[in-house]
């Protein structure tokens, strides 16, 4: 608990590229709360594979354009 996820994401940048889509708009498209989008953006929650696909679809990009996987977490690099 409290461990940063190793899943990285570009949601924030991609939202702005997508006509400055708000977190609320993305949340509505994906069917989650805005707090969940915030948690994913901040790396406090790893979405399921299905939700990851939904987010990528809502942003109009491929899955690996949105999400990446860091081999070393922030804890390991300390």
């Amino acid at each position: 608990m409290g461990r940063p996820t190793r899943v990285t994401n570009e949601i924030r940048r991609l939202r702005f590229n997508r006509d400055e889509m708000t977190q609320a708009e993305l949340a509505e498209k994906v069917g989650v709360t805005r707090q969940t989008i915030i948690a994913i953006e901040q790396g406090r929650y790893s979405p399921s594979l299905e939700m990851a696909f939904q987010i990528a679809g809502a942003l109009g990009v491929a899955l690996d354009d949105v999400f990446g996987y860091s081999a070393t977490s922030q804890e390991d690099s300390r």
């Binding site: 608990m1 409290g2 461990r3 940063p4 996820t5 609320a24 069917g31 989650v32 709360t33 805005r34 707090q35 969940t36 948690a39 901040q42 790396g43 406090r44 929650y45 979405p47 399921s48 939700m51």
Partner: protein
């Protein structure tokens, strides 16, 4: 803060206060006499009932002060809920061994009932705290 997270805060605060009130009422009712002689059942049921009512009023009041954007739980809420309930379930399972052993040892019903109530309260508090940490810090 999401609707579900606010609910956990209300649950945590109300449960903690209700148990504190119960303990104070039982101790003050006892006075100089031994605790098992206290007529604790109405106090216990009364504080549980009051806690349920306070939780409902608390949730309504908080929504009136700061309405949530959504009132439906999503997949993250369910994940956090499962995490909290799993850990709290461990506390409940292990903790209930205490009143069970007390019952086998034929300890006074007062102490068995209060041990059970304390375990229930502990599992509720542990569950709520774990969920709130998960909401705040991630998991």
């Amino acid at each position: 803060m999401s609707y579900e997270e606010k609910g956990q805060w209300v649950y945590l605060v109300v449960t903690s206060i209700a148990y504190g009130v119960y303990v104070v009422l039982v101790i003050t009712s006892a006075g100089a006499s031994p605790l098992p002689e206290v007529d604790y059942q109405p106090i216990l049921l009364g504080t549980i009932g009051a806690a349920i009512v306070a939780s409902i009023i608390g949730r309504i009041a908080i929504e009136m002060i700061g309405p949530s954007e959504s009132h439906t739980e999503d997949v993250r809420d369910r994940d956090i809920g499962r995490l909290g309930e799993y850990r709290a379930g461990l506390v409940l399972g292990i903790g209930m061994a205490v009143p069970f052993i007390m019952a086998l040892a034929e300890v006074d019903w007062f102490w068995i009932a209060n041990a059970m109530y304390l375990v229930y309260v502990t599992q509720a508090i542990v569950g709520a705290v774990i969920k709130l940490i998960a909401y705040r810090r991630g998991f």
